[in-house]
Symmetry: C2
Subunit: 283 residues, 2 copies
């Protein structure tokens, strides 16, 4: 299998979606990004739970997980590593915001190559000027409305900078453009609370579970930028990168400390466990 | 010509867009909705100026107006009435929020039937529970990130209610889900200021210009809901409906008063003037 993405639209190999799909018209839908190793997904069950939750909150009919599993297995039938992206929209609509009474969701599954591995000693992180809008109605879920993140990511082109942190319009730190942020303060783990803005990523949930299982206190809080300055360690999480230490937090040098290292190992183990237990491919 | 929409994607009759378009992936784009009478657009120049402004603010290369005019003319070659929707996205991208260095925008033009005319004595308007997010980075422009409006419009199904007013997350009135709001207080016209949320519609600009030209003072302000209660008259504007009086403003009966009537006539005249001056179709 090559790096070129392969796409299934509603289960059919296709390169295109209906031009009148509400996903395009309004960003009326959701997506997931899932790491695949050896043809098997990591944290599949968590992704399905979160996709269901997103559909429920937007009022989009849930997509059958067995269908998604069969289609994911088809895209990664070669047993390769890569990234599976799942997009679910409210489907084709006419003109006007009103959702159809009986929406027929569109699903797009696409295979992408695995990005190159990151520096083990950590990544550089900057602070973005673009803010995240506060919107409790969609906070936490990964909708197709991502212009805040696009505009923030457009702020820098230095390939040495891995991620940009975003504050909400009131100035509180929400996370990275494409990752969740964790700070180690003494023996405690701090992460922004995702009740008004931001995405409650799958790896964020797995990280909090792993931390609590190992006796580390986790606090979800509204973090002022001063919390960055006080951090002993920092790391970023998302489904593709796992947990990655931050070596340069907005100009401040940090070492990959013991808490981050321990959680990284625990997450790798949990990821591998989930991979072995994944419902696809069928064996 | 029938009511079925006809679609041009990048100038070619087509029903589909690339499944990896950033318009679908992130709502990374803009749209316009333009009223067409007898095959000619109303307020074409204003729409082009606002589309350009939106592209500039998102960092999307501007689309050649002559191309849009030629394609609009093709869709309405029969000389019919209807609605032209123009979507411009940042084009196809890989995975990841970062915009391509040299984006190749996608444009979708679609023809829709003209909606039925509204009651001349006014429309009913409700107050939505869903709030509009505050985001100065994209306030004013008509981006493809419209989930706030979709969720608000999903709140009611009573066909007798034409529109829902939305407040921002701080409680100030922003406008309707698909229209701008004007209130008449004595001899003055009030409308929400669009610096943090909302869309500065083409018809909103035309309305303010028409009001000022006829000696009516126009105030753009942060409007608390109490401003609704104090209004002598109210009307809604957008490019398809023009200016429509509100007869029931969140449960309060209002008559279509002299200010709204006068502006409605002025806007109809300005619309007709713009239609005759439109650069398409060529004659």
């Amino acid at each position: 299998m090559t790096g070129a993405p392969t796409v299934l639209v509603d289960g059919v190999p296709a390169a295109a979606v209906n031009a009148l799909d509400r996903g395009l018209a309004y960003g009326d839908g959701l997506f997931r990004t899932i790491r695949i190793e050896g043809g098997r997904p990591l944290f599949w069950e968590r992704h399905i739970v979160q996709l269901d939750e997103g559909c429920r909150r937007l009022g989009i009919p849930a997509v059958d997980p067995a269908t998604l599993a069969a289609e994911g297995a088809l895209l990664f039938a070669g047993g390769s590593d890569g990234v599976l992206k799942i997009v679910v929209t409210r489907g084709v609509g006419g003109r006007g915001y009103r959702p159809p009474e009986t929406p027929a969701p569109t699903r797009v599954l696409a295979r992408f190559p695995m990005p190159p591995p990151l520096m083990a000693d950590g990544v550089r992180v900057r602070l973005c000027a673009t803010r995240v809008a506060i919107q409790p109605a969609t906070a936490g879920i990964k909708t197709l409305n991502r212009l805040d993140q696009v505009l923030a990511r457009a702020e820098w082109s230095d390939a040495g900078i891995f991620e940009g942190l975003m504050r909400d319009t009131e100035g509180f730190v929400v996370g990275g453009t494409m990752s969740n942020l964790f700070l180690v303060h003494g023996h405690r783990l701090l992460t922004p609370v995702i009740d008004r803005a931001g995405i409650a990523g799958t790896m964020r949930g797995a990280t909090m579970d792993a931390a609590r299982a190992s006796g580390v206190e986790v606090i979800e809080a509204r973090l002022a930028p001063s919390a960055l300055v006080q951090a002993d360690e920092a790391f970023l999480t998302n489904s593709v990168i796992g947990a990655v230490p931050v070596s340069d937090l907005c100009g401040r040098a940090l070492a990959a400390g013991p808490v981050a290292r321990r959680l990284r190992r625990a997450l790798a183990a949990a990821g591998e466990e989930s991979r072995r237990a994944a419902p696809w491919p069928m064996r």
